[in-house]
Symmetry: C2
Subunit: 140 residues, 2 copies
DNA sequence: ATTTGTGCAAATCGTTTGCATCTGA
DNA sequence: TCAGATGCAAACGATTTGCACAAAT
């Protein structure tokens, strides 16, 4: 952790470019978040995974960090499950499949869904993003 | 409340057909829910509105009832806001616009959004429904 | 040195639950 | 009668907050 290998420098840079100070915790959490491709994590899940990797960060800091990262465009919040908030490491345009009863989220590539031009946005509002959620359940 | 006017009978019938006993509270809440066209309510909002109309129902019963109604197909749960759960009195196929920062949900008629046939559903799963959420924010 | 971030524990908020009591069929 | 509903208060789980301490610029 005191040995700045190349990937760690990347993480620090990415944080700086996002306007966030590269603190030890933020760098570590970025490392955990982006260690294995894109995924959807809850605060609790990130906390556990960080602990397992020997990264000791309080849950309060996890929540702070997740929201800071979301504000900085590093993460995206996914609201499909009223029970808890998921954060998506993929901030590119894509959609989701949600497995009801299992609290599981799967990605759908943007190209898999064709929508015509978006419906009218009321005056005074601007589109942030359009997302599609396929709710599925296990058969039988 | 002891005078069974026509609309009250309708409500009672609708509850019976849904397999729910038409108790005083359920009939009253249906009355409140469907008094003014379709809308999106939280448990808290329904509780307040019921109180204002002199319908005294505990919050616990509100939650029970909302879930029973959802299970019976009288209401639909809308998960767009990770902060709280909204219930939609419109159970027909349609979509939503969510105003970020204002906790406000607007309807988009199904016809306003054209999607091609849905993406592949993984084996062992079946589609419950496909919904589109347009996230918008107030300009500036 | 100053500003910003972190950790902890307590507080908050939406929601659920256990249980005694009531009510509709 | 009696299964099913309700109300209350307490329990719960996810998230936020206040504040003293620590770390980054």
């Amino acid at each position: 952790m005191t040995c700045p290998t190349a990937p760690v420098l990347d993480l620090r840079d990415r944080l700086r470019r996002a306007g966030l100070r590269p603190t030890r915790q933020r760098v570590s959490l970025m490392g955990v978040l982006f260690a294995k491709g894109h995924r959807h994590l809850t605060a609790e899940a990130l906390h556990e995974e960080a602990s397992q990797r020997g990264v000791r960060v309080s849950l309060a800091t996890i929540y702070n960090t997740l929201h800071q990262f979301t504000g900085a465009g590093i993460l995206r919040e996914v609201a499909v499950d009223s029970a808890k908030t998921y954060f998506d490491t993929n901030t590119h345009n894509h959609h989701h499949m949600f497995v009801e009863g299992e609290h599981r989220i799967l990605d759908i590539p943007a190209e898999a869904v064709q929508l015509d031009e978006s419906p009218d946005i009321p005056d005074g509002f601007e589109l942030v993003r359009m997302e599609v959620v396929l709710r599925v359940r296990r058969k039988q």
